[in-house]
Symmetry: C2
Subunit: 349 residues, 2 copies
DNA sequence: ATCGTCAATGCAAGCGCTTACATGTTGATT
DNA sequence: AATCAACATGTAAGCGCTTGCATTGACGAT
């Protein structure tokens, strides 16, 4: 007779544990979810059975009945560069602490992809969503509202937008940085910006720079802006374009550190001394900013702090939503500050 | 009399659709999952109802009965720096193309955290897991086997390890780079490595460097190794330690580009010219490597390619597992190559 | 006309869990 | 000793879906 293997025991279920411990499934469930409701002695017996069987509750089943998945979705424009990485890491850490899991997607800065991913995440039962920036189709907010999935916007603070946000004021942050540039005496300034379409952060930063021009009695249109995608290489190309077409610029304000690093690299290639001939500034203060040479003068954004706050805010929203309560006001403006490093100095001459 | 709102219609279910279309739930389910099994006319009626109600299947319910979640979990040591970002992005893109969603966690290089996260992801019903490196407790592999969750290791190739892997040969890649260093005439060499404990990649890289020493008839113990965590600042400190204690070194091999960038920064601070006084090398070839100055000589790892391949491999494993089939052999060694840039030159003198 | 066949559809079980409600125990109170 | 909280535990319904099996009816063959 052929020796029978033990049937490939598939994952133990609640009732396996119940049987093993000699109690009902309800008791096991209670041990796991509200241990105070079951008496010490039973609990120990149950827990022992749980250990012995290496039981782990089936998530789908739990989510189905609880109508909560303890999952948060995040859709970021890209995972490739470090812009969102640090903040997202902090976001995830804070989430884990509260027993939530993170589902991430990246949209490659493409609105239609983002919309599709939002639907996917909602269909997957995400309890809440983290979105970057405010700029998106109204219909998406309707969809979210209808499905009762709270969404929080990060990386951009806008108190009266459709969604609450935990972020910073891109516009005034950039205005402050531009003011530094102007204070040093620069007047022929160009800006390399991320594409403005569908990106309120990029747009606000340009507006901020122009604000500073206005505040100094200058024509804001004198700020030449080159738009491109957030990419080293693109930053380099934009810088090249600027110095070719406008050889007299003395400062180039970049929409973020990645673009600025690209500009620096191109400058080196072209033999342009930074900051002696041209000053360059960044935005975000990712690690890169301090490592390139010359180190970048940039706007420091406390990404970790923002990520953590965003997690708490979103969890609060989810909790409120699950009790049908009114959404709490969780919006928060995280403050930024300009950090001065070597890449910015007075104009030559 | 108070005007009643329509009851906050919660998400429509299969049976809502069935009723709307005048068919049974089974038919609706079939329309959605195997449309060829239902006749054209009925299908149209059902689809119309689906549209009208804006029905989206409940994911948890589906996952529960199908025992498939179309979710892949990935646990990476950190999201903070760009080491894993690019590969993970490619991994995610490939996954999305196949209808899978990615669940990510980061373990902060802490084994116990990683173990906990593996359990969480399995409990969450991940169909498969992407893990970085081979080094972990045997028990984890047992756990995974018992739960029938296929796991693929990436960033490290080891054909006879417990798990299949899609990665590169850290050891020989580093040996090749070290050979370049030796070829230039360097003999007093130090290495800044990531912590070796629990990190086979870090260990292999050190071994690789020693291999090159041996191949050149040198004492492998002559390679002084400083271990630290993968962090700019730590790289800087380690570099400082090395040049203080061994002022005669002419080359510092770093375990990755982040450490190397830290070393570069510290060298600048100390007024040490790279590569004139000391050469520095990295590993990974993340974008950073080309942007710092001097640009880093490093080992180029095709992260995107690796991510994509890993996704396909893992999906194949999941498919096999779900049909109880034997796991296909998906292991793959991705080839790397040394890229020479300015940070490495012959020793002074 | 009768029967068999097969495609289309319906019926109903059950996935693993939570929870309202029912039942059983205990000990304090009178 | 009888009564009754108050609490511990069990019973069982059902969450939304898929799927094996039963049923129906149309059609061609006899």
């Amino acid at each position: 007779m052929v020796k029978k293997h033990a049937p490939p025991r598939s994952a133990p279920t609640l009732s396996d544990v119940a049987q093993e411990a000699g109690v009902s499934t309800a008791t096991v469930s209670r041990c796991l979810n509200s241990p105070e409701r079951v008496v010490e002695s039973t609990r120990q017996r149950v827990m022992a059975a749980v250990e012995r069987l290496e039981y782990t509750p089936n998530f789908a089943a739990r989510a189905m009945v609880a109508k909560r998945s303890y999952t948060i979705g995040a859709i970021i424009p890209t995972m490739e560069n470090a812009i969102f990485a640090r903040g997202l890491q902090a976001f995830q850490d804070a989430l884990s602490d509260q027993g939530y899991t993170l589902l991430v997607s990246s949209s490659a800065y493409r609105p239609e992809l983002e919309a599709a991913q939002i639907r996917t995440l909602v269909a997957r039962g995400a309890d809440g969503l983290l979105l970057i920036g405010h700029d998106r189709d109204e219909g998406i907010y309707d969809y979210l509202a209808q499905h009762r999935v709270p969404a929080l916007v990060a990386w951009s603070y806008a108190p009266d937008a459709r969604s609450p946000s935990v972020g910073f004021d891109n516009r005034s942050a950039m205005a402050e940085l531009a003011q530094h540039v102007l204070d040093l005496g620069h007047r022929r300034i160009a800006m390399i910006s991320g594409f403005a379409a569908g990106n309120d952060r990029a747009r606000s930063r340009v507006l901020g720079a122009r604000d500073a021009f206005i505040a100094n009695g200058l024509d804001p249109e004198a700020l030449r802006v080159v738009e491109t995608s957030y990419d080293f290489e693109k930053g380099a190309r934009a810088f090249e374009e600027i110095v070719t077409q406008q050889p007299d610029v003395t400062a180039v304000i970049c929409g973020n550190d990645v673009l600025a690093a690209g500009a620096l690299q191109e400058a080196r290639r072209l033999g342009i001394a930074i900051p002696e001939q041209i000053s360059v500034t960044g935005f975000d203060d990712i690690e890169l900013a301090a490592v390139v040479s010359p180190a970048l003068t940039t706007v420091h954004v406390p990404h970790r702090e923002m990520g953590r706050q965003a997690a708490h805010a979103l969890i609060a929203m989810v909790a409120a939503a699950s009790q049908q309560a009114a959404l709490p006001d969780v919006s928060q403006c995280i403050s930024t500050k300009v950090v001065s490093r070597a890449s910015l100095s007075p104009p030559p001459g």
